[in-house]
């Protein structure tokens, strides 16, 4: 109906046109048919308008129509421009009508298509002009009728939409006739052809190109989005060849890094800031863009994804050019590392931040920057792209940086080899976009490690080994269990990030790392060194854990991840473990706030189960596991200012997600809590071991684990005690299912029970609320029978036709009925006793 209303103007015009048309034999039938078809549409408005506006408009229309017919009939001869315009206008009208009324097409040999075709064929070039003129004409036409005037321009313009397409098509076809076969389906191809043609034939091509451009623009603007995008792509592709885009990207990335630097500066006063300042100053563009980078990052990344591959090769060149700027070098590497981190989400951010502060190198800063950037862009895909991008940049920068990097590269290669494999596996599984991305990730890892390997090669090797081991494990795990692709991607990303982190921050002190990780507050502070190590280890450990978590979530394989998790910890040195945990925790500290460590892992899993789709929960789970471990290690300094912002963003998102999950999955959590009880115990076991700094723990706990810790413990207890007051479990399962089956009268699958339970819980909530409200309304403190009666009435179960008693009789067992329905017995005794 809306369409009809919208078309009212059009319809009016059409009607008017066709009302006139019936005079000519050809159109009469069509007009009549139209009238019949559009009779429904016709409203009083139409009739009124028709009556009022007809004379001047009709005349014009008639003329137009006549001309159209003439042109249609002529076919071969190119009608004069005026005629074409009129015909076009008429055609447009008719076109607009055409879809509306099929009769038109049928009756008239001169269908709009034909008319247009003729017109276009004769003068395709002028199509644009015609359109414009037609537009002008149409508004001019409705002079008499104000309403018509208002409608007409709109209709004319709207009509233009259709003709635009048709015109474009025809133009394309015209072009095609000359060279290729006409293709209506794809304007893009037509455009492309035209563009090509333009090169060949100046005159026509140019015109056509212009027309095409105009057409494309008009088309894109008016008509279909599909048209628009491909066309744009074509152009962008061409430009891409020119390498404009890659240049732009570099800037954006740099800007990003600059923005990160800025943030860092705000967070951490120190050497990094100086570096950042330099970098910022050097990159003027970055400064301007940094502010908005966070928001822009993702879109850039996404767009970059498409063009990224092409730019991969271009970037190194540009990166190299950028390398000339000393400060910028750091940024890109940082950014790259950070971007990688993004993959791993918050975790990486922390690691990066930590790394930066620790080593005090530009690379470190870059990491944090990357982390920040990573934090901002949390989508896996984006992360992948970003990481790849950042990696590339890093690579370029790192390579240029110096021999040290090269050395680290070698080491990193070793690491990455394992990581790449794992990553590739993961990525592939997790819908990795391209091999390039994987490569880029691996590259990033290498880079990241390179940047930081300068300080400690040994540490790297250690971390590498761990990583490799972890990676191999994760690979196995990933291969073994199917986990949602998102999770894997995250895992892969996290691995890459971890690898990077490990590479970067070898000698990171455990404490520092753990602290940074675990504390949300610390996020901003992160002090690189310790966290770096931790981040290094944790990332890949976390990855493994996360993977396991995914698996557990997906397949409820609690023991499996648990075993792996514990096993991994055993393998790694205590410090490494803790570091990893810390890293993880720091990375996931935003999550940590919401979820506590060990106890929350199961929670997270439980929560996740209902919401498996979200990748963040998986990461959170990882974080949680890490958090648990890192609780003790929370001493780590953590938190460079950089991650604060990113962390804040990511944790906010994650927290929100988690919170939502938690809220929704309360029941599931309880259920799940029971299973992972032993898991939790194990984790707690581990967490207790590394008691690095009780103070940190306290801080972390208070800051992060406030919710989780108290919740975790009581949950543990609950699991053993079968819950208090049976709030959640509520009704016994047998009863529920039994009643449901009875009512259903058909077979009921047992898997409906959880759903049913949830429903009932909600129902009970509402029930209690309502009853309480009624009682309060009656200024009573107890819920009475009448309250429930009122509820039934409001729910519609009790009507005038169905009194309450009937319901009681129908549903309740005898003893209840006695309670509710007074029964008169002999001796003037009423049961139950009436209180009146």
């Amino acid at each position: 109906m809306d369409t009809t209303e919208d078309l009212s103007a059009r319809v009016l015009l059409k009607n008017v046109l066709y009302t006139e048309a019936p005079r000519t034999p050809v159109t009469r039938s069509t007009s009549q048919a139209q009238r019949a078809s559009s009779g429904a549409r016709r409203s009083s408005r139409l009739s009124g308008k028709d009556a009022g506006a007809q004379t001047p408009q009709q005349i014009l229309r008639r003329s137009l129509k006549h001309k159209l017919r003439e042109s249609a009939s002529r076919m071969s001869l190119p009608p004069s421009n005026v005629n074409r315009r009129t015909t076009l206008a008429a055609l447009r009208k008719s076109n607009t009508h055409a879809p509306a009324t099929a009769s038109l097409l049928c009756d008239e040999g001169v269908t709009p298509r034909h008319l247009l075709r003729n017109i276009l064929q004769t003068e395709p070039e002028s199509s644009m002009l015609l359109q414009e003129k037609a537009v002008r004409k149409e508004p001019q036409l409705p002079s008499a009728n104000s309403s018509m005037n208002s409608n007409r321009p709109s209709t004319g313009l709207s009509e233009l939409d259709l003709p635009d397409l048709t015109v474009a098509n025809t133009v394309g076809t015209v072009r095609g006739l000359k060279r290729k076969r006409p293709r209506r389906s794809l304007n893009i191809t037509a455009f492309e052809k035209r563009l090509k043609d333009s090169n060949d034939d100046e005159k026509e091509d140019e015109e056509s190109a212009d027309d095409l451009s105009s057409l494309s623009s008009s088309l894109s603007s008016s008509a279909t989005l599909s048209l628009k995008t491909p066309f744009v792509d074509v152009r962008t592709e061409k430009r891409g060849l020119q390498r404009k885009i890659p240049n732009r990207r570099k800037i954006t990335i740099e800007e990003f890094g600059a923005g990160i630097h800025k943030r860092q500066m705000g967070g951490d006063p120190g050497a990094s800031i100086g570096m950042v300042e330099r970098a910022l100053s050097e990159t003027a563009v970055s400064e301007g863009f940094t502010l908005g980078l966070s928001d822009l990052i993702e879109p850039d990344l996404t767009t970059d994804i498409v063009n990224h591959n092409t730019a991969l090769y271009a970037q190194p060149e540009t990166a190299e050019s950028n390398l000339s700027i000393v400060a910028t070098q750091d940024k890109p590497t940082v950014m790259a590392s950070q971007l990688q981190r993004d993959m791993g989400e918050v975790e990486h951010e922390d690691a990066a931040a930590e790394i930066q502060t620790d080593e005090g190198n530009a690379a470190m800063k870059s990491q944090t920057e990357e982390e920040e950037a990573a934090a901002e862009s949390q989508t896996d895909e984006d992360d992948a792209v970003v990481t790849s991008q950042s990696e590339e940049e890093e690579e370029a920068v790192v390579e240029d940086a110096g021999a040290v990097e090269s050395q680290s590269e070698v080491e990193a290669v070793v690491e990455d080899a394992g990581a790449v494999e794992s990553q590739s596996e993961e990525e592939e599984e997790s819908e990795a976009q391209d091999d390039d991305v994987v490569k880029s990730q691996s590259e990033d890892e290498e880079r990241g490690s390179e940047s930081q390997t300068e300080d400690d090669d040994v540490a790297k090797s250690q971390s590498e080994d761990e990583e490799d081991a972890a990676e191999s494990q994760t690979d196995e795990e990933s291969a073994a269990t199917e986990s949602p692709p998102e999770k894997k991607e995250i895992g892969a990303e996290s691995e890459t990030d971890e690898n990077d982190a490990t590479g970067r921050s070898e000698p990171v002190e455990e404490e520092a790392v753990s602290e940074s990780q675990t504390d949300e507050e610390d996020d901003g502070k992160r002090e690189g060194e310790d966290t770096e190590q931790a981040t290094k280890h944790l990332p890949h450990v976390a990855e493994h854990i996360s993977r396991r978590a995914y698996r557990s979530v997906g397949g409820f394989i609690m023991p499996f991840p648990e075993a792996e998790w514990s096993g991994k910890f055993k393998r790694h040195s205590a410090g490494a473990m803790y570091n990893n945990l810390d890293l993880r925790n720091s990375m996931s500290h935003p999550h940590g706030g919401i979820h506590d460590f060990a106890p929350y892992l199961p929670e997270g899993r439980a929560g996740e189960r209902p919401n498996i789709a979200e990748p963040s929960p998986d990461v959170e789970i990882e974080n949680m596991s890490h958090l648990q471990l890192s609780e003790d290690l929370e001493d780590s300094k953590l938190l460079s200012a950089d991650p604060e912002q990113n962390a804040a963003q990511s944790p906010a998102h994650q927290e929100e997600e988690w919170e939502d999950e938690e809220g929704l999955s309360d029941v599931s959590e309880e259920l799940s809590m029971k299973t992972p009880a032993f898991v939790r115990e194990k984790r707690n076991f581990f967490t207790s071991d590394p008691l690095a700094s009780p103070t940190v723990l306290k801080n972390i706990e208070t800051s992060v684990a406030n919710k989780s810790l108290p919740a975790a413990k009581p949950k543990k207890v609950r699991a053993k005690r079968t819950g208090p007051a049976k709030m959640e479990p509520g009704l016994p399962k047998n009863y529920l299912m039994g009643v449901f089956r009875h009512f259903a009268k058909t077979k009921v699958a047992p898997d409906v029970y959880p759903v049913l339970k949830e429903i009932m819980d909600k129902f009970f909530d509402r029930l209690a609320e309502d009853l309480e409200a009624y009682a309060l309304h009656a200024k009573r403190k107890t819920i009475e029978v009448e309250d429930v009666e009122l509820l039934l009435k409001r729910q519609g179960h009790v009507n005038d036709k169905v009194p309450v008693e009937v319901l009681i009789e129908k549903y309740l067992p005898m003893e209840y009925r006695k309670l509710l329905i007074p029964i008169a017995t002999s001796g003037n005794v009423v049961i139950p006793k009436q209180r009146r």
């Binding site: 007051a725 049976k726 009643v739 009512f743 759903v755 309502d770 309060l776 403190k781 107890t782 509710l820």
Partner: protein, 77 residues
């Protein structure tokens, strides 16, 4: 109906869910049971209808879920 709802549990449930109300008369307990039964009944009916629409003899979780939202809204007072 065939089975009896555990009244103690129900009472505890309502009490815990409701914030400030203190008491729940035993008769009201029975009434609450009635309400529950009615609600479940409606749910089951609707779920059965949707299952039949799916040409499956058994009620599956997805059927129930589709129906639940509607029924919950209906049973709001």
């Amino acid at each position: 109906m065939i089975k009896k709802a555990p009244r103690s549990q129900l009472k505890a449930l309502i009490k815990t869910k409701a914030k400030s109300n203190v008491n729940l008369r035993p008769a009201a307990d029975a009434m609450v049971e009635l309400v529950i039964l009615l609600f479940l009944n409606g749910l089951a009916e609707e779920a059965r209808a949707t299952a039949v629409e799916d040409r499956s003899a058994t009620i599956r979780a997805k059927h129930l879920r589709a129906v639940s939202k509607k029924m919950l809204k209906k049973a709001r007072g």
